[in-house]
């Protein structure tokens, strides 16, 4: 489709400004050449964006089992609460508005209860930002103890993909450790990796293979005995929330993704929110201001000199917290564990329907997600995980996460989430099985899927090597 620049017609516009009634004075440093902005009527613009919207696929279009991304439905009541004028018409500097502070303080309390933490900051704007913030807390902890030789963060190969990058951003050296046969952390390898230079461990539990690590207390003990701290990546909290708490597993700090587990919009529909929680002994290092209730009202208190300082302005993406808080109020104490149970049930149901045909890496019961491997099919017939993912688009569903985790070849990671019905799961399974039959009968045809998407197979290599990121005018 055409870009806005290609739709542009010189002289066309959609608003008529009144003549300027103040004397015009142009400072010398102002550019005099006109900006080359596209010129369009309101009709053209509206149709352009509607056409773009039609080419996208979101949770509101259909099944979206993108593993480790928890693409659950975003309830409309969240949006309604976040649209209340009392929240939207407040400037962040009006930090005495009691309703806003109460939302933040109560959301902090609820989320601390769910995670087993003692304090939380809402400043981080997304998951990876939360990871960086959490690692900064760990760094601060070691620094203030004069334990400056601790420069290594241990990251198992089943951890979330952003963990190594966040560690490197924070100035740590990443030590990768392989998983054991059962997909859990290899305890011997962990013991070998731990030492006087260990700053901490980053772990996702359940991990990206959808396995809850049964040695979790042993893992955190090994790291603590070596003098390191344990960081919980909340990417997969949806599987255990309301049932098992990272704080009880021995983790010292965590981040949550409100745009995953707590039903706020994800990706382009964001923004995100990645609050960071910690145990009491790390609280003084948290960024931003603390909300306290004293003398009958909510007040803001400075964190003091030990704080790592602000990682974002004010209280982060406040309205996203309002949406997540609405979700928690909707679910209540009874509803939160039901989310986790249904997420696990849905994943196991879909896994059960697929595992006679596809090879599933999880041998017993999985948590909220499971991983298929197309390694055998790739070798025998040339049909890859990519081919299956592309073919699924023709069945009106979003493909699962591909080629991740890295420790599984030709991986497809499937996370249905709790908000999908049995009918949707049955239809998805039928699509998977139908594709498998077609792939067996005609492997070559699989390479040409999808047939009905606006974009079929973009040249990923060319896109990565020579990306075109701006419009080039002809003249």
């Amino acid at each position: 489709m055409k870009t806005l620049f290609e739709r542009s017609v010189a002289g066309r516009h959609c608003s008529i400004l009144p003549a300027c009634d103040v004397p015009l004075k142009t400072p010398d440093h102002v550019r005099t050449a006109p900006l080359r902005l596209p010129e369009l009527s309101e009709t053209d613009i509206s149709r352009h964006y509607t056409e773009l919207a039609k080419q996208t696929f979101g949770v509101n279009d259909g099944f979206y089992p993108l593993g480790s991304c928890t693409m659950k439905y975003n309830p409309k009541i969240n949006e309604e609460a976040a649209s209340l004028a009392g929240f939207t018409e407040v400037h962040p500097s009006q930090d005495h508005v009691q309703g806003c502070l109460e939302v933040l303080a109560t959301a902090e309390k609820y989320l601390c209860e769910i995670t087993g933490m003692n304090a939380m900051t809402f400043q981080p704007a997304a998951g990876a930002h939360g990871e960086l913030t959490g690692l900064m807390l760990i760094k601060r902890y070691h620094e203030l103890r004069g334990d400056s030789a601790r420069n290594k963060i241990i990251v198992p190969d089943s951890a979330h993909g952003t963990n190594p990058a966040s560690s490197a951003m924070c100035g740590f050296t990443v030590v990768n450790i392989p998983s054991a046969e059962d997909g859990c952390v290899d305890l011997d390898k962990l013991r070998e990796a731990c030492g006087e230079d260990t700053a901490g461990l980053m772990l996702t539990n359940p991990n990206t293979l959808g396995i809850f690590d049964k040695h979790i207390r042993e893992i955190t003990d090994i790291v603590h005995e070596a003098g390191g701290l344990c960081y919980y990546d909340g990417a997969n909290l949806n599987a255990v929330m309301g049932i098992a708490r990272p704080g009880d597993m021995g983790f010292d700090c965590i981040h949550l993704n409100l745009h995953k587990s707590f039903s706020t919009p994800h990706g382009g529909g964001g923004p995100g929110s990645g609050p960071v929680g910690c145990k009491s002994f790390l609280e003084a290092y948290l960024p931003g201001e603390k909300i306290v209730f004293a003398d009958g009202r909510y007040q803001l208190a400075e964190r003091g000199e030990e704080s790592i300082g602000a990682v974002r302005s004010f209280h982060g993406n406040f309205l996203v917290v309002v949406k997540a808080f609405t979700y928690l109020l909707t679910l209540g104490r009874e509803g939160v564990p039901k989310v986790a149970q249904n997420a696990v049930l849905n994943a196991n149901y879909l896994k059960h329907l697929l595992e006679g045909t596809y090879e599933v890496t999880n041998k017993g019961v999985c948590m909220h997600e499971f991983v298929l491997t197309l390694e055998r099919e790739k070798k025998e017939t040339g049909v890859s995980a990519m081919d299956i993912a592309k073919a699924l688009q023709d069945y009106g569903m979003h493909p699962p996460t591909m080629y991740f985790p890295l420790n599984v070849h030709e991986a497809l990671m499937v996370e249905p989430t709790e908000t999908e019905s049995k009918e949707t799961l049955d239809a998805a399974a039928a699509a998977f099985l139908d594709i498998y039959e077609k792939a067996k009968a005609d492997p070559e045809a699989m390479h040409h899927t999808p047939l009905h998407s606006p974009i079929g197979r973009p040249d990923e290599v060319k896109a990565a090597r020579h990306p075109v990121l701006r419009y080039h005018f002809d003249d």
Binding site: Y403, L406, E460, V461, A464, R465
Partner: protein, 127 residues
């Protein structure tokens, strides 16, 4: 899979071409480039970097993932192949021509494999 007999190899899929007793070129094996898929970025080490055998020296990115490159021997980086920065596909097209970096003062060569030994390692990984 192509595994030239005149080269040495590391278990971590780098090849080593000795140009004298203490100098060598290092690149990625055919097996490695095939497993990685189409390469889109190469991060090369800086010259004068001290390479330590078995430790990460640089990394490459394919359409699938970013992967570390390990130093197959110890030594000092004397040159890097800057052609790869603009044309990482050279590694896919000609893995044994597309050297990544050159080393001098080469030591720690005991664990290098010959072509036959390396092919066995690859065969085991295939299973």
């Amino acid at each position: 899979m192509n595994t030239p007999k005149e080269l040495k190899y590391a278990k971590t899929h780098e090849w080593v071409r000795f140009t004298s007793d203490t100098e060598c070129e290092v690149g990625l094996s055919d097996f490695a480039q095939d497993a990685l898929g189409d390469l889109v970025f190469v991060n090369l080490p800086e010259t004068d970097t001290e390479a330590i055998r078995g430790e990460t020296i640089c990394d490459v990115e394919s359409v699938k993932a970013v992967s570390d490159v390990y130093a197959p021997v110890s030594g000092t980086v004397t040159a890097v192949n800057e052609d790869l920065l603009d044309s990482p596909e050279l590694i896919n097209n000609d893995p044994y021509g597309a050297w990544l970096f050159r080393l001098s003062n080469v030591t720690d060569t005991d664990e290098l494999l010959d072509a036959e030994g390396y092919e066995k390692v690859c065969a085991e990984e295939e299973q």
